[in-house]
Symmetry: C2
């Protein structure tokens, strides 16, 4: 903005909101004005909610899920099948699979994919933790629910190789997942079909 | 979500973010995970920025702009032409006009438009305040920069009527503004052209 028309505190809020995925500078300005307009219904509760998350959020030391408890609600849920681990790239994929209701298992969040060009190697992902968990005799199957991208499939091959000596079945999602697509953008029916028709790897 | 997979504090944050303009449930989830992932660069500063805005934001008692000072930075800017008041519906329109750089005047935010169907009458807008300001002998022109909607034009007519007895010229934006369009979505060149070619009302 060429001249000062509002306070630095407000400019700062606009700048930070514009860094959220889905918001740009224009929508960040609109969001800021909406927050100011709905002070008691939105600004005050959102400030409080962010502070609570800032103070309570944890990354599950077992699976990598985002929760306020460690281990997380998924890892401590006794109704889930303890013999299956679903491996995902990101927490958003875990949440997407849960919304599909396609599987009642535990998860393992890799935290990304192997990507030599971006300098992401096996030690940058939680692959060692996955191998440890898969070595538990209770575990019989690992489902690789990674994105159908080149890096995702490279990662799936690498993980399969690391699990080779363990007595677990390794499977991957069926090709209901569109090639090049990302899990978090798929509809729940497609996700459910891909889980049901998963194939040996 | 059918089963508990994350903490209530996190669910609450997602719900509140989803109420911001431009974000829905899906992008609110992605924004929340981004915040958690970028704790120090994004979550902590955004919480702080929201708290600062919550504690310092004011609505300018003169023009209705959002700022941390009252009167606001626009009203106290000595380099602006004190003889012109630009009337807008909303603060977002004031900011959009400032970005266009088309005018160096003061503003008056009505806070909406007349809308009998929605129960919005003259007393719900800051029209009396505008008449007071326009009665200042220093003021020579009032530019009605309201949206080119039916309600916007009805409001412009009503405001013109209320200013009739004052020795001020009342003008409106040129028809560079697309019919039915909203100011905040226009590009800056169109806004600048519309200010330059404003016509007597
Ligand atoms: Zn967990
Ligand atoms: Zn002001």
């Amino acid at each position: 903005m060429p001249r000062k028309i509002t306070g630095p505190e407000i400019e700062r809020l606009i700048q930070l909101l514009a860094r959220l995925p889905g918001l740009g500078p224009r929508s960040a300005r609109r969001a800021t004005l909406q927050l100011v307009k709905k002070r008691e219904q939105l600004l005050v509760p959102l400030t409080e909610a962010l502070a609570r998350v800032r103070d309570t959020v944890k990354i599950c030391s077992c699976c990598g899920n985002v929760d306020t408890a460690d281990p997380c609600a998924v890892c401590t849920d006794p109704t889930r099948d303890p013999s299956v681990i679903v491996v995902v790239e990101d927490v958003s994929d875990l949440w997407a699979l849960e919304r599909s209701g396609a599987v009642s298992a535990r998860y393992h969040v890799l935290g990304g994919v192997l990507s030599p060009l971006d300098g992401v190697g096996p030690d940058d992902l939680s692959i060692a933790g996955l191998v440890d968990r898969a070595a538990d005799p209770a575990v019989r199957e690992v489902i690789l629910a990674v994105n159908a991208t080149v890096d995702g499939q490279t990662t799936a091959h690498y993980v399969t190789d690391r699990l080779r000596d363990l007595p677990v079945k390794v499977s991957r999602l069926a090709h209901g997942v569109p090639v090049g697509g990302e899990l978090d953008y798929l509809d729940e029916g497609t996700l459910a079909a891909a889980i049901r028709a998963r194939t040996p790897f």
